[in-house]
Amino acid sequence: MLKKWMAVTAAAVASVGVLAGCGSGNSGTNDNQASGNGQGGSVNLTLGMWSSSPAEKQLVENQLKAFEQANPNIHVKVEVVTGDYLQTMQPRLASHTAPDVFYVDASYAPQLESSGVLLPLDDYIQKDHVDIQDFSPSLLKAFQWQGKTYGLPKDANSLAIEYNKDLLAKAGIHTPPATWEDFEKDAALLKAKGITPLSMPIDVARYYPVVLDWGGSFYDANNNKATFTDAKNQSGLQFFIDNFHKGYIKTPKDLGADWAGPPFAQGQVAMVAEGAWIIPALQQTAKGLHYGVTDFFTHYGKSANMLYTVSYSIAKSTKHPDEAAKLLFYLTGKDAQKMTAESGLAIPSRQSEQGDFLQKYPDYKAFVDGLKGGTPYQFGTLGQNFVDAINKATEAGVLQNQSAADVLKQADQTLQTQTQ
């Protein structure tokens, strides 16, 4: 028996030995909360982010290098969250071990802002004379809650129509449709040739501009309330649902993919409505594809769009709010935004940098144009419950042939059962 235990202990010791030999040795046992004071008055900060591509991480690291050069007493460590972002941030915020500065997506920003885990920035903005008027106003507003600012937008995205030139030409179409009315005409031609005209998911994040263009609104921002049952919402939603029934729109799932990129890259669909994130994906996976990008369809001069934006925000638990604010203002400031523009990864949130960006990447014009008439993808603290309620109801509308009025009624009921 003693022998066995010794063997086991030996094995354990051996593995601890391997542990010690496992690379750099500074295995993070001490600097797990890298917000302590270093020597000589230097300060360590952590920056929390997700990374949609290695290039994005590279960009942030370059920006931080520039920041550290300008502020030699502040050191920043990057933490990339590779799991579900909110699921990771909730325990970290709850245990006061969140990164000092971190990404916050506009879609759930109000939930974090209203629960008091983010640091209000207004005093720091005043103190540092940050020019916040330069941000696209709707982007800035996405991170304000009850009169306070809890984050500054780092970049933005909007919807545009990407179209396959060859497929359109097959149906005799030489300029892509500009309005939803044109779209219906062209879609009939495409469908007659056996081509799927448009692929869009049944997701309010994509079709909400249609509702807005037709004069509806699902959400009352002033009262943080859902307004599904407003009669004005019906016509736009009905138009969207009808297009599915006519076979003019198919979901990416119908085409065997989880988003519209792959079917578009494979030439399975003539048009898709996605943000600028589709461009790098197409460059990598669809080298021979002849495609163009044009403005999201309009409706009698109305050109609503959906804005997707992410902020840098500061955890209220930070031990170094002044330095964290300095970092935040740098990352959302002109120099860092210039680097964002250069990289072509995202559209700068500062209007002053958008011109430069377009000069370098003229293909992105439709996305930048989209920012002007855009509404942030955000429904107050109703957040995911709101989105789930309307998405599920719309899905039922499409799959089970329900009217828009029924869909909206159902969404309203579902939302009520899901929030206490």
């Binding site: 354990a12 500074n26 990771t88 245990s95 792959p262 994906a281 996976t285 669809a286």
Partner: protein, 271 residues
Amino acid sequence: MTHAKNFRPLLYAVAILYACVSLLPFVWSVYTSLKPTSDIYHTFVPFGHLTLHSYSDIINNFPFLRWLCNSVIVATIVTIGNLIVNTLAGYAFARLRFPFKGALFYLFMAVMMIPSQVLLVPIYIMLAKLGWINTYQGLTVPFLMNAMMIFLARQFFLGIPQELEEAARMDGLSHWGIFFRIVLPLSRPLMATMTIFTFQGNWNSFLWPVLLTTSDDMYTLPVGLNSFYGQYDAYWNSVMAGVLLLTLPMILVFLVFQKHFVKGISTTGLK
């Protein structure tokens, strides 16, 4: 065993058919991982286009060895710990008599029935207070016990004939002596099963390591490899290459330990 002789050809046919069903996706993963990125949306790619680029990309551009090393350390410690803790408990629940045994056993069973999603935040807060975030002890110590394995061990110990233990007891062996000298040597299939399951469970484990590690030098393999899924640009060749790099060491472990699925002395010793 003689009783299945007549069915032999049929048996092989079924065995091979099901092997195809279970191997097909694996083969598909290998094939996908060899596609160049420009061809990932094409179902069939000519043989000449296939490339090992996804693999070299992962190994060269990411701290792959470091992640592998972390995974090996964590999975090894957790597996050794689990083997000790769970077999001891399983044996006690199967054989020894002590007050509140049934209640205690059901306590372990009950723990398995609560979805871990609601325990995540409280456990995290506790580990953060201990200062264990982003450390090896954080990745190992909380996972040294597994109720499912205790249950498994108990069921198997119940199945071992008791006569040997009785004989040993008459020879004056203590409970510890019986367990280590008599019972454990009889339990090779059980220990092999537990090793495979525990190692694999920990090896593929994602939820906890992703929460508990904050710097990429502490990532385990699944956490590191998960950074290949972009939100919008999941390049399946890289993803599948990552999945296969993750799977291969596990297959190795399986190959080593499945050998112990042989008739134990538990039966032959009683002839």
